[in-house]
Symmetry: C2
Subunit: 388 residues, 2 copies
Amino acid sequence: MSTQFQIEAKSGSGRAGKLITPHGEVETPVFMPVGTLASVKGVPQDVLEELGVQILLGNTYHLYLRPGVETVRRMGGLHGFMSWERSILTDSGGFQVFSLNDLRKVTEEGVTFRSHLDGSLHFFTPESAMAGQIGLGADIIMAFDECTEYPAERERVRESMELTLRWAERSKRYFEEHKEEVPWGDSQRSRARRQAAKQVTADRSQESGATQALFGIVQGGMDRELRRESALRTVEIGFPGYAIGGLSVGEPREMTREIVESTLEYLPADKPRYLMGVGTPEEIAQYAAMGVDMMDCVLPTRAARHGLLFTSEGKISIKQARYAQDENALDPRCGCRVCQRYSRAYLRHLYASNEMLAQVLNSEHNLHFYLETMRRVRASTQDRVASK
Amino acid sequence: MSTQFQIEAKSGSGRAGKLITPHGEVETPVFMPVGTLASVKGVPQDVLEELGVQILLGNTYHLYLRPGVETVRRMGGLHGFMSWERSILTDSGGFQVFSLNDLRKVTEEGVTFRSHLDGSLHFFTPESAMAGQIGLGADIIMAFDECTEYPAERERVRESMELTLRWAERSKRYFEEHKEEVPWGDSQRSRARRQAAKQVTADRSQESGATQALFGIVQGGMDRELRRESALRTVEIGFPGYAIGGLSVGEPREMTREIVESTLEYLPADKPRYLMGVGTPEEIAQYAAMGVDMMDCVLPTRAARHGLLFTSEGKISIKQARYAQDENALDPRCGCRVCQRYSRAYLRHLYASNEMLAQVLNSEHNLHFYLETMRRVRASTQDRVASK
């Protein structure tokens, strides 16, 4: 009644599958664009649909501060609030508390932190993070974890990992007791929205008993042994999906890859595996080939806002003067609407003139590139199986 | 071979007509969104097409500074550069030189001014303004004028008006000698773009001899007598269309209306009449009823970026806390994609959180409201004639 996962094809360690959430189907491996504040910066929801986005990520920390969980809950959760009838995943807030708050204070009970907006004091616990995520009403929510800093001593990493395991149990307990409180409602407005969104897959969120799915998070720093232990003990607690957290926190890329590879071994093959917060287009393709099913990253949209564009010929910094009179498409091999319509010269002009449209178009292109990368990996996994 | 104008219906002083430019048909009265730097801020060209925009305005002053006329010319003019295959009008730069440059120096020959970007010195003459606008390649271009400041002594207004008349003659002379230099080219790329734009009306820009149309501008400050003289003498020079310039420069609204009304009397009924730089939705409807055919204004897009939204129930400041949990559409009677999909609560959240999508969606809605206002005026003019 919550999220299901089906593997359709395997090739080496990679797999092509389907995640079936109460709000539709998600073909995996999947890249999830980040919609921090219930918006993928600069990209309207209908464009996301046209891009083929099947699942979005929202940040609990940011949404908790603005507009607040209660407001979102009253609007029927994030789906209703942002008018997005496809799948959504929220993180637990743990990573933002870690990355945006130098003065956070962690105790057994939870984390005290100051808002990056106004300095006001807040307190997150596994229970309050679950309550927040239930109120936001994403299809997939994440256990509250501590993201261990890098570098860190082994003893510190172990303690942090143990805390995350205890918080995982508390997260699961709270979730099981409160999961019926998810605010999915079938208002006329949301029906109309679904029609407008031309959603073809069944919306099962109104079926009796449909609930969110809570995923566990593996920590353990850059220590393969602790990662193994964290994975095994998180699996023991038992979740319908598992994330690898605590990476992309400043460690060398090669180390990230090693930790991912060694952690994946200990995650159940029949459950979705989510690698949080990576990476470049090359990296997401590599991780997918290693058996990761879900990824998210701000890179495509953030890079876009800085004029860095991903193309089949490599990265382009569109601000460069060399593009000022370049009539070619940004990426001649790209089928996105930006490349179909506009020249590099125009995109360069928009960026150099600080026009808002630069960020809108750049973001659309980069997202297309990421999504297309994943679609290609998925198709090649299926092809390789079919040709056997 | 350049722009033609047909009046299809009249009701009182108002008229419904059709402006046929080398890049398509424009139903009048028409509101022209302002695309200052070859972009209507935050609104992609395909959305403008969906909104039913038939003609855009570009600002010569801004485009001259960035990306420069030569760059645009090499890309086939603004149509090719910004991938917009429908009609375009450029102003002459005179108004921006006036409004953005306190230190401008006007002589008989032209205007010396400093770039608002880097303080560099530039010199515009009627001839260079025409050369610039021919290079930009809009369908309709404007004579180079001096926008008289407000308030001003009668003698100063007269001198300024006389200068504008002499500059109008020089503009026309230069244009007639150089109009064949318009950079409309039929590259494969532009053919593909036109198909992508699903342009249904004929693109006549490739017909041999298709040229731009140069409109004259009436000045004369707030003096009805000088306006009359300016109108008659501008008509004597002879243009395929006439603009009323020098308004919305700080004078009371009632004065604007009076000057427009008295000036319209002296403009030929069979030529398009363009009122520059106005106004609110109520005002543009009033001016259309008075017989104005074309208008432009930054108000819908600028107001949108400040969270001011036009609705059938009046203006809304979406930043207000009262909308924080308002599930209603911004304007329940509006058919635009923003009102069909999103709630006031969501728009308020986007604005309050400084999300780029706020500006994108707000601009789309306000433009729809302006365009719909004009379509309503046009339809009612035709209906009133039909029911007689």
